[in-house]
Amino acid sequence: MHYPQFTCPPLGGGILIAIVAITHVVIAHYAVGAGIFLAVTQTLARRRGDELLLRFLRDQAKFLVLFSFVAGVVTGVGIWFCISLVSPQATSALIHQFAWGWAAEWCFFLLEIIAGYVYYYGWDRLTGRQHLAVAWIYAVSAYLSLVLINGIISFMLTPGGWNQVIANPDYDGDLAFWTGLLNPSFWPSVLLRTISCLALAGIFVAIIVNLSRSYRRGERRRIINHASWFLVPLGLMVPLAVWYFLTLPQEARSLPLGDAIAMTLFLAFGLVSSVLIGGYAYFALVRNRRDITLETALLLLGVAVIATGSMEFVREGIRKPYVIYSHLYSNQIPATDEWRQRLESEGVLAHARFARPPTVSLEDLPDLPLHVQGRYVFNAECRACHEIGGTNDIVPLIGEAPRAWLDETLRHLHDIKYYMPPFLGTEQERRALVEYQYRLAHPQEFETPTAGGANVPDAD
């Protein structure tokens, strides 16, 4: 509300975040899983004197550096950029509430990156014990980085008692931090992400070993069979997902369980895909010791990416109408009673300075046509999600609706559609928004004839 509204037509901010976030999640989960894979496999290989696995780990390390340390790091910065652009108020809240959490996570990120490089460049320089120690340092720091980030991300959906803590004007900063970080969905979410990390690591092993021409068929199969154990925990996705859903607020839980059919389908895709991959890994790769080709490995990766994307989509979707549950709406307007009263008495345009042009002061507003005022209200309340002519276009949603219907809908927006934030503003602002929306949906009624006979839309 307080910041300029970044839009990304025709995609929309939400889709932009989704593209960058899903890409990053897949790479970052792989980086964490690959760390555990490296450490565990190197420990076993050293104990058994398995030269083949050690040789493969060297290839894996090169892939890790080229893939995770470039694309993963850049998309990690990218997701931060994107959320800062699309949801600056929410990003600010997460940064300020969890500054020490982010800072601690950065320490592990630093350790992870440097340990990763030392591991990669250390094959001919470090002793066996040193190299193994570095593998474990990489694995542990990458995993702890995931744990901390998971706390902050899961907080957005299930802040638990955090909203009650900060409702007290003299609240304890530490209490707010730990209540938010160790929120109700923290543990199931950590476990779900851990399984996802391990599975992605296993799938990427199959891709890397197929990409390299230095392995004979039997060698390749042995490496894949070893890695397939990392896919088996996918079978636990369903009970963990049940645990996860039990920690969610009732309204959020009901969306994927029938109230929003798109969410239901995405959840089903995510869970079924995960279980199928886990089942395939156990029965085909572990028990029957089958080989898989590059094409099959890429197919598995595609299914895993769809599963990850589906689960992330569900997690983001069921958070609506909030971006931080019960604290901040997805249009960046605070979801507190105090702000509701302020906006209903002072108006949203008194606070959303970037919603109206720089040259238009508050005093100028009453002199402007109603639909122009409405356009500014639209900028403040709706444009975060609805881009005219782009994703989630408001015009087809309005359809042929008359003014009375639009007004009634705005009055009870949140009650009619739970995932929509309520309209918060003065009566005048609501009337202005109705007029603007009506004109958007009925442009033909407001066209004025020109001297040459052609019609042009009424200028704002």
Partner: protein, 397 residues
């Protein structure tokens, strides 16, 4: 023009520690970021020149370019990693200015992100087709400086573009009176148009090359001390690095005052002089460390294998960069303080809600990193005997 400056209020959740704590952390991490970022940007600019000289048949330049291309991927990774922390602390301290400028730059940031991804892979492309340090064998592009030059120029242009975006965002965050463009909040800025916009960028790029010159000196010494380079090779590397330091730091003697005079008058007096702590640190380093750095570099050019001159130049440069970091922050503090006095008294004061336990957890993680990192870095810097240079008599590659 806007009727009032639209500065958003500070985040209501406040600061989780006194601002001074974050200011210190921001300075420390920003210093590390600057050192590596300059190594990357300046290193790529120097590598382009070396590749061009190699194309003309200059063999020592070819060798040094290959070495630089081996080091720059790690330097880039470190620049990004060390850049994350100051980016966090800037948002904690100055979020309302940062996010607004960020949103107004908008698509420019997305372009910078794409440029970073492509540029980073271009940097790795040259490294992987060049000498393979891991396998200790010649790479496919070792005798193809033309290809290296082409790719390194692309990567360098992308890095220069990213530096431009960062500089303009910082300048925009200090100038709320430039947030409006005419009668609109134009999103997708590329040039802020403040007096300091261009001088600041040029100052940053020139400084980056100077710091990269010192990294080349360090590279020369590191290889010499480990017996990887013979005396002639080390002499060439160290002398070239010190030449770059001398010329570029000398150029900063001209660019510095240009940047200083592009600042608002009130800010200038706080950055240069003894009115503020940041200004005092900068002023003292300017008149002590910079001359020491230049003197060390000039002497080092005459006697490149005398370690004391390189050490003097490096020490002088490090202190100068520390002073620069303090001056950089003082410019921000002075601009924002002037804004507060003029337009929104008291508005920029956020509440402080300390989180002592969370802070201790962070401090423990930080100490853990400080203990672990030197150990594993010491392991990796020990070289296997196979990489040592022959005692004597082998010609330059």
């Amino acid at each position: 023009m806007p009727t009032e400056l639209p500065i958003p209020p500070p985040d209501p959740l406040g600061l989780p520690a006194p601002a001074a704590v974050f200011v210190v952390l921001m300075h420390v991490t920003f210093l590390l970021h600057v050192l590596f970022m300059n190594g990357t940007l300046g290193g790529m600019l120097i590598a382009c020149e070396l590749n061009a000289m190699a194309l003309a048949g200059h063999r020592p330049s070819n060798r040094l370019a290959r070495l630089l291309h081996q080091a720059i991927p790690v330097s880039t990774s470190m620049a990004i990693t060390f850049g994350v922390a100051p980016l966090l602390f800037v948002q904690v301290l100055y979020g309302q200015f940062f996010y607004t400028a960020f949103a107004l730059m908008g698509p420019t940031w997305l372009a910078a992100l794409g440029a970073l991804l492509v540029g980073f892979y271009a940097i790795y492309l040259i490294a992987y087709y060049g000498s393979n340090a891991l396998l200790n064998k010649a790479g496919a592009w070792d005798d193809r400086p033309g290809r290296r030059l082409f790719i390194s120029c692309i990567a360098t242009v992308l890095l220069l573009g990213i530096a431009w975006v960062f500089t303009q965002n910082h300048v925009l965050s200090l100038h709320p009176n430039r947030w409006a463009m005419g009668d609109e909040w134009k999103i997708g800025r590329l040039f802020v148009g403040a007096p300091m916009s261009l001088p600041r960028y040029i100052h940053n790029v020139v400084g980056a090359v100077a710091v990269a010159g010192m990294w080349i000196v360090a590279l020369g010494w590191w290889r010499r001390r480990r017996g990887l380079d013979q005396a002639d090779t080390a002499r060439f590397t160290i002398r070239l690095g010190l030449w770059i330091v001398t010329v570029l730091a000398g150029l900063q003697v001209v660019m510095g005052p240009v940047l200083l005079f592009s600042l608002d008058r009130g800010v200038r007096s706080e950055v240069f002089g003894f009115d503020t702590l940041g200004g005092a640190i900068w002023t003292v380093t300017l008149f002590t460390a910079l001359p020491v750095q230049l003197a060390g570099a000039v002497q080092g050019i005459r006697q490149p294998l005398r370690g004391r001159w390189s050490l003097l130049a490096a020490g002088g440069m490090l202190v100068t960069v520390i002073g620069m970091v303090c001056a950089h922050e003082q410019v921000r503090v002075s601009y924002l303080a002037a804004l507060e006095h003029a337009h929104a008294p008291g508005q920029t004061e956020p509440v402080v809600r300390t989180q002592p336990v969370a802070m201790i957890v962070f401090a423990s993680c930080f100490v853990l990193a400080l203990i672990v990192l030197p150990v594993i870095l010491r392991w990796i810097t020990r070289l296997p005997t196979t990489e040592r240079a022959p005692a004597s008599g082998t010609p330059e590659p």
